[in-house]
Every structure is written in structure tokens, then in C-alpha cells.
């Protein structure tokens, strides 16, 4: 379980996160939703310790992140897989090496074992025949999928995905959503996903957290989100014509 207690984060005068307290359960897909600019990415970076928080604390299975030493932090991080919103692939390495990189760094596997694992991960994100290409030579959606493959290569205990399916077509997006759900349940991971895609919410949202104005505005699951009477949440969920039609049909 990952827990945030009263997490507050400001950039100068701009208070992006205001006393956010959430619990992300293990073995579940925990979705953080909210408008663009609402602070989802900032929250995720606070959780993993890339941003220092101004107040509050973050706990990984009872261990407090801010109290860890440099070495302890490194150990916890070897259990973290993270997909960045922009992919953050190493552009000096081809696709396959990107996925193999954490394995080369932290395991004693032989080259062929690492290559097999990389190919397995790449096939799970529906990506074949791109192994030898460099990140600059593949499309945006492909980059995203390589980044997901790299994030899951080490079978992390904690998986963080910042908008895993933005920039993907609906079908591939669905494949990715279900992949994340599958591995979360299979390996009992604690998975946190930032998204503003309602399809993902309805598909895999075991726990859903809605961030609005820097606060945790609503929380529930994929069923309750459609029947909530929270005004701001409804404005967010039923923002388009299509979703409005679905709402009236419900």
C-alpha cells in the first residue's frame, strides 16, 4: 500500500497540491483523474520522491519516504516502475536496450536472458519489429509503449503510470489498460495511474480519485463515478456530447 498524508506542494506562490491524503491499495488499479493542469503529474512525482513535498508525508508499506537514507531510497526505487508522461526513453539507446537497461543494471542475467525478457515485455505492449530502432525513429504511441515495457521489465512492486494511453488509438489504449490491470493482479502490485480518459476509468478503475483545485475532491470506484451527484466531478466526467448521451441513457 502507498499512502499519502496531508501532502502539500507549492511552486512559489502556486499551491498545486493542498493537503492531499490518499491510500492506494495493493493489487488494485488506483486511478487519479483530473483536468489538465490539476496536479496529477506533480502528485505522482511527490509520491516517488522526485519532488520534495512542503508538508505531509508519503509512505510505502509503512516506510516513510522522506526519512529514508540515500541507500534505502535506492533500494525502494528498485521496486518502482514508472512511466513518465513524456516517455523519458534514453535516446542514446535503441528500443530493446531501453527495456533491457534496468535488467543490466540490477540483475546478473545473461544477455540472452535479458533479451528474452525485453522481447516478452515488448510483445505484451503489442510492439514487435522495433527492437533495433532508436526512440527518435518511432512514433509517439510507440514510445509510450516502449516506456511501459521498460517500466514493467523488473516486475516492480509499485507501478506508476502517468497517462499510459494518451496518444494511443482506442484499441491499443484498451490493450494497455488491460495489460496494466492484468499484471497488477497477477503480481499483486500497487499501481497508480494518472489519466483523463474516461474509457480507462470505466474499464479498470478499482479505485478512482478525482483531483480538483489541488484538493482530493471525490473518491470512489468505476461504478459509483457514473452515479455521483458531485457537481464538479460530473462536469469532468460528462464533458463531451458522447458521454452526455451515455449519461441520459443510463
Amino acid at each position: 500500500m502507498i499512502e499519502a498524508v496531508n501532502v502539500t506542494k507549492c511552486f512559489g506562490e502556486n499551491k498545486v497540491l493542498d493537503q492531499i491524503s490518499v491510500k492506494f491499495e495493493t493489487g488494485k488499479c488506483n486511478l487519479v483523474i483530473g483536468q489538465s493542469g490539476s496536479g496529477k503529474t506533480v502528485l505522482m512525482k511527490c509520491l516517488v520522491g522526485l519532488f520534495e513535498i512542503d508538508k505531509g508525508k508519503v509512505m510505502f508499506d509503512e516506510k516513510v519516504l522522506s526519512r529514508m537514507s540515500f541507500e534505502e531510497m535506492k533500494l525502494v526505487r528498485q521496486d518502482i516502475g514508472m512511466l513518465f508522461q513524456g516517455g523519458a526513453l534514453f535516446d542514446s539507446m535503441p528500443v530493446e536496450e531501453n527495456v533491457m537497461f534496468p535488467l543490466s543494471m540490477f540483475t546478473d542475467q545473461s544477455l540472452s536472458e535479458r533479451r528474452d525478457r525485453a522481447n516478452f515485455c515488448l510483445s505484451r505492449v503489442n510492439l514487435k519489429d522495433a527492437n533495433k530502432l532508436y526512440p527518435s525513429e518511432i512514433s509517439g504511441g510507440m514510445k509510450k509503449r516502449v516506456a511501459i515495457a521498460r517500466a514493467i521489465a523488473m516486475n516492480p512492486r509499485y507501478l506508476f503510470c502517468d497517462e499510459p494511453n494518451s496518444g494511443l488509438d482506442p484499441k491499443t489504449a484498451n490493450v494497455i489498460d488491460n495489460l496494466i490491470k492484468e499484471i497488477t493482479e497477477e503480481y499483486d502490485m500497487t499501481t497508480v495511474i494518472n489519466t483523463h480518459d474516461m474509457n480507462s476509468v470505466v474499464e479498470i478503475g478499482d479505485n478512482v480519485f478525482y483531483i480538483h483545485n489541488g484538493k482530493l475532491w471525490w473518491q470512489g470506484d468505476k461504478e459509483s463515478i457514473l452515479n455521483s451527484d458531485n457537481k464538479e466531478l460530473n462536469e469532468f466526467v460528462f464533458a463531451t456530447e458522447l458521454t452526455k448521451k451515455i449519461k441520459s441513457a443510463l
Partner: protein, 247 residues
């Protein structure tokens, strides 16, 4: 002044991170080889080119200025060699390398910073400062002295060629001069300078890259800062080292 002290503080902190124990030695060894190729071998061409012309110009200027019967002709070879060994190769070539290698390092690391690649390394549990900067430091500490030795040889050759081709200095006289009054300590002094300058170039430009904030524009800015600051550091340390070692 306050800003300067803050920057020095951050620089020292970064260097302490850089010299933490690496995660996996075999990977680092491979990285070092790659950096030797990227930062060292890749600079060989420009170093040779500049050194030949530098030596040639030096010899011609010496010949021009020492054109009096009071000084023996071989002095031209001797003076050329001394200038090259003591100052021109270690300092001027290091300044050139600060431009070439320094800007490359700052912009490479800076781009990794703004595209979150450094964050990705950190999240995996890798000490990004060590991973990115340490192999570059080792590569340059090892290879820059080689470049400078080559530069010294080539510059003397350039001087000899210019002297002979223009007919200003007879070949035998120049060669005699180059060999005259040779002291090993001069070369030692030259190599010490080179090693110190190599460290300054990599660490300062690495520092500016590592702390880049923003986007493409800022990457350009850090790359400029990397070159300017490491050049200034070279000039200052040149004076300091010369004072310590030659007085």
C-alpha cells in the same frame, strides 16, 4: 557573490554524489570506453589540426623576432618547443576542448534533464550523477593527457615544417633546438595542468547540464555557461598551478 557561493556549494555537493560507489562496475567500464571514443578520439582531428598550425605560426614568429646574429638559430627550435610544452599545448588545447567537449557534455546531460531521462534513471534507483558524469571524468582524465602529448609532438613538427619550408630555419638547426636543454619536469608540469583542466572541463560542464531547468532554450544556455565557466576556471587554475609549480 552570494549566488557564486551557492553555486560552488551545489557543485561540491554534486561532485560528492558523482564519486559515490557505482552500482555495477561492468556497466561503468563499458560507459568509460564509450566516452573515450565520444570525448577523446573524436577530438583527435581538431587537436592535430590546431597544433600543426599553432606550431608553424610560433616558429615563424620566433624566427621573425630572433632575426639577429646575437642569438644562435637553434634558439628558434628551443623557444618553440618550450612555448608549446609549457603553455600552448596544455592551456590552449584545453581551452579548445572546453569548447568542444564541454558544450557536448552540458547539452547531452541538459537534454536528458529536460526530457526527464535523469528522473527515469533516479526512479530506477540509479545514482544519475555517478552514472552520467563519472565515466566522462575518467575518460577525459585518461585521454586528455594523450591528446596533449600528441599535440606537443605535432606542434613541434609544424614548427619544423614551417621553418624548413619557408627557409627561415634550417632543418638541422631547428631539430637541434627542439632537443636542447630538455627537462622532464616541464612535461610533468604540462601533464599536471592537462589533468586538472580535464577535470574542470567535465565537472563544470556536467554541473551546468545536470542542473538545467526548462526546455531547449535552457539547454542552449547551460551549454554556453558550461563552456564559459570551464574556460574561466582553466585560466584561473593555470595561473595558480604555474605559481605553485614553476616558482
Amino acid at each position: 557573490m552570494k549566488n557564486f557561493l551557492i553555486e560552488i556549494g551545489r557543485y561540491v555537493k554534486l561532485m560528492r554524489l558523482v564519486f559515490k560507489r557505482p552500482e555495477k562496475q561492468s556497466i561503468y567500464f563499458k560507459q568509460i570506453l564509450i566516452e573515450i571514443e565520444n570525448l577523446g578520439l573524436d577530438s583527435l582531428g581538431i587537436v592535430v589540426l590546431i597544433s600543426v598550425f599553432m606550431g608553424a605560426v610560433l616558429a615563424i614568429q620566433m624566427a621573425f623576432n630572433l632575426d639577429t646574429p646575437l642569438v644562435p638559430v637553434y634558439t628558434i627550435g628551443y623557444a618553440t618547443r618550450q612555448s608549446v610544452v609549457l603553455e600552448f599545448s596544455p592551456t590552449i588545447i584545453s581551452l579548445i576542448l572546453a569548447g568542444k567537449v564541454g558544450s557536448r557534455i552540458s547539452s547531452e546531460i541538459g537534454t536528458m534533464r529536460v526530457t526527464e531521462q535523469i528522473d527515469a534513471l533516479e526512479i530506477m534507483g540509479i545514482n544519475s550523477a555517478t552514472y552520467l558524469i563519472f565515466p566522462k571524468i575518467v575518460a577525459c582524465l585518461f585521454f586528455n593527457p594523450i591528446l596533449i602529448m600528441i599535440s606537443i609532438l605535432v606542434a613541434n613538427f609544424g614548427g619544423w615544417a614551417a621553418g624548413s619550408l619557408t627557409g627561415m630555419v634550417p632543418s638541422a638547426e631547428f631539430i637541434y633546438g627542439v632537443k636542447a636543454f630538455f627537462e622532464g619536469y616541464d612535461v610533468f608540469y604540462s601533464l599536471v595542468k592537462t589533468v586538472v583542466f580535464a577535470f574542470l572541463i567535465v565537472s563544470i560542464s556536467g554541473y551546468h547540464g545536470y542542473y538545467t531547468k526548462g526546455g531547449a532554450l535552457e539547454v542552449g544556455e547551460s551549454s554556453t555557461k558550461g563552456v564559459v565557466h570551464s574556460s574561466i576556471a582553466i585560466i584561473v587554475f593555470n595561473l595558480v598551478l604555474t605559481n605553485i609549480m614553476l616558482s
